[in-house]
């Protein structure tokens, strides 16, 4: 009887457990990241009045609440016939959204991932890219790299302040309402944010450099670590294919950059996407219908977005993207660890967008809400920090929700995360069903690159226990290990 189990994956938020399955020859055949939480949002939202939805559904996730708030609001705009937002409403929402991208990317990089990048490569770590356990947090970063640690904390704070200024609260605010927003940006709030905006861009550029240097210095190891070819999907700006995070059309490409889907309007997402259910996890497996469940899966998030977009519409981040693309000779980048660099380029982009928006007088406009002919069905899609986020609702004449379908960012990355774990297991296990520290670290580092919001994915959030099991060809547990502080249970 042999089986491998890893439990808790702490800094990957949400619950998870990993099993690794071997074939008769003892080779790794499959890896499964089990998402073990289920919330039931899609059912209990039924019957609620539609205007409550943007406020309720953001409780799916306290890390990216603005994404859910805005995806739901965009759908409800269409329900009230108000999807042509006033300039003030659209810009307030954009500002809120880019504030959220900024805080979430800063959180992921400085609080969750930078320890791996900063401490995991200094020779003291058990395996490449995994910081020693007692250093895996932002306080350790602040201790060894005081400037960088402090900047990380203050960058997240800045993003949270942008959200507070536009939504009234840092977490679970109320800024967007069907057809618009409930406030404009006060001159005081604007001036307060303006004060720090240039500093944030300077610090973002430093963060890009940290991620870039890490990548370039470890190019050889990174090229194969948890790496695999995949399709990529994101929204892009309709007219020119630019990176666009608030509102756009769907575009998908294959591993070489060949177009699979282009210019698909958000309302028609079901023409392109379907989701498979598998019995061993609560998280579904989305795929492109034209390619089917076997081959149609794809990556989303910062790496996918930099692959699908034609350019980044802000100068400093675009310069960073060109440098990023040169490494793969303008071809799509399929390297798992490249997510970190891509994420920091987006952080810089968000900083530039925020700075420019703050100069826009429309944010002080008074025309906040619009309405038109009522609809009964609508889709809202947004590029959340972790990737494409889809909300789809039906609302009856009594204003009650009758159908709700949510495909959250992390769900799109379900198969990619399983693939990344499989690659790590294949490289580490070498026919011995033994769970080493290197395997545990490798799995955590690979999963963390995707910045999974397992809270979002299960329509829940929680701690992330990582438990790894190796299962042989007959379904017997070959090895099992639970990640714990001092003691690793057999």
């Amino acid at each position: 009887m042999k089986k491998i189990t890893i439990d808790p994956l702490t800094r990957v938020e949400g619950h998870g457990k990993v099993t690794i399955h071997l074939d008769d020859a003892g080779d790794v055949k499959e890896a499964r990241l089990h998402i073990i939480e289920f919330r039931g949002f899609e059912r209990f939202i039924l019957g609620r009045p539609f205007w409550e939805v943007p406020v309720i559904v953001q409780r799916l996730c306290g890390i990216c609440p603005v994404s859910h708030h805005l995806a739901a609001a965009k759908a409800m705009d269409r329900i009230v016939g108000g999807e042509q937002l006033t300039p003030t409403a659209e810009k307030m929402r954009r500002l809120m959204h880019y504030g959220q991208i900024f805080q979430s990317h800063a959180l992921h990089f400085f609080h969750l991932s930078s320890p791996d990048l900063l401490f995991g490569t200094d020779g003291s770590a058990a395996s490449a890219f995994a910081a020693p356990r007692e250093q895996r947090h932002v306080l350790a970063v602040a201790k060894s790299f005081p400037e960088l640690g402090r900047q990380g904390i203050l960058m997240r704070k800045f993003g949270q302040e942008v959200i507070q200024a536009t939504a009234g609260k840092k977490i679970h605010g109320t800024g967007a309402i069907p057809g618009g927003v409930n406030r404009n940006l006060s001159v005081e709030a604007r001036d307060h944010l303006r004060k720090d905006a240039d500093q944030m861009i300077r610090w973002s550029k430093k963060a890009v450099a940290v991620a870039r240097d890490f990548t370039m210095d470890h190019l050889l190891e990174i090229a194969t670590f948890g790496a695999f070819d995949s399709n990529h999907l994101s929204l892009v700006r309709p007219r020119d294919g630019a990176l666009e995070l608030y509102d756009g059309v769907l575009r998908a490409i294959d591993k070489d950059g060949k177009t699979l889907v282009d210019g698909l309007e958000d309302q028609r997402y079901l023409e392109a996407l379907s989701e498979e259910v598998r019995p061993w996890t609560y998280m579904k497996f989305p795929f492109l219908k034209t390619l089917g469940p076997q081959h149609g899966w794809y990556r989303v998030g910062p790496l996918a977005r930099l692959n699908t977009c034609r350019f980044v519409p802000s100068p400093e981040a675009e310069a960073a993207r060109i440098e990023f693309q040169a490494v793969t000779h303008q071809k799509p980048n399929n390297v798992t660890m490249a997510y970190h660099w891509a994420r920091m380029i987006e952080l810089l982009h968000a900083g530039e967008v925020i700075r420019d928006l703050l100069d826009d007088a429309d944010l002080q406009g008074e025309d906040l809400v619009t309405q038109g002919p009522r609809r009964e069905e609508a889709v809202g899609i947004i590029e959340a920090p972790r990737g494409t986020l889809i909300h789809h609702y039906r609302v009856d004449r009594n204003d009650q929700v009758t159908m709700c379908n949510l495909i959250v960012s992390t769900t799109h990355n379900n198969e990619p995360m399983n693939q990344a774990i499989m690659r790590v297991a294949q490289d580490t296990l070498a026919k011995k069903p033994e769970i080493t520290e290197g395997l545990l670290n490798g799995i955590e580092v690979a999963v963390r690159a995707y910045d999974p919001c397992l809270s979002c994915a299960t329509h829940a959030m929680g701690k992330m226990p990582l438990q790894v099991q190796v299962v042989d060809a007959h379904g017997a547990v070959a090895a099992e290990r639970i990640r714990s502080h001092e003691l690793d249970a057999p």
Partner: protein, 191 residues
């Protein structure tokens, strides 16, 4: 958040553990919203197991345990009981821990209907065999979402969804100083 070794070198430092059960992690984000103050806090306390560091189990007694979220599955119950066993004082942080919060909206709906909605009925679902996830790896879901104080004794409650960072900081400072927390009226939220 020092290593366990350092922690034993300073046995007098109070230790804080935190966990997210059936919550959205927003309460933990609100802890992080104390911003730079976390650096000062880290000087006077050690963080034991918490999603914000990489410690996954208890390695000794803790002064304060902070709970986000209620209990929606059997695993939540086990973790909560473990916290009660290992912490001197338990704090229910936020509405989910206090009364189940938004996830408890499923309490008046049969669980089966919630699962069917997500895995059988949702548009675009590809599920030819009509599978509802039921693997042995998945912990059993409870019939409803339970507030933490219905499962173990809770000593303090901080309301809000999430509670403001200032309220959290005040409660932590007061508990560490051995005084009764005094949350400013404006920081008492019932959203």
């Amino acid at each position: 958040m020092t290593s366990s070794q350092e922690a034993t070198n300073h046995p007098e430092k109070p230790r804080i553990a935190t966990v997210s059960l059936a919550g959205c992690f927003g309460c933990h984000m609100s802890i992080l919203d104390i911003d730079e103050r976390i650096l000062a806090l880290a000087e006077i306390v050690d963080f034991a197991r918490s999603p914000i560091n990489d410690y996954k189990t208890f390695d000794g007694r803790c002064t304060v345990g902070i709970i986000e979220g209620g209990c929606c599955n059997e695993e939540n119950v086990h973790v909560l009981e473990d916290f009660r066993k290992n912490c001197d004082v338990l704090v229910s942080l936020g509405d989910c821990a206090i009364n189940g919060g938004i996830p408890a909206m499923r309490n008046n709906i049969p669980l089966r209907e919630c699962l069917e909605e997500a895995y059988l009925k949702s548009p675009g679902v590809y599920n030819p065999s009509g599978t509802i996830p039921n693997d042995e790896e998945l912990p059993l879901l409870l019939n409803r979402v339970y507030p933490c104080n219905e499962v173990v004794k809770i000593d303090h409650f901080i309301p809000g969804c999430p509670p403001p960072a200032d309220a959290i900081f005040e409660v932590l400072s007061a508990l560490l100083a051995g005084r009764t927390p005094a949350i400013a009226y404006g920081d008492l939220k019932y959203d």
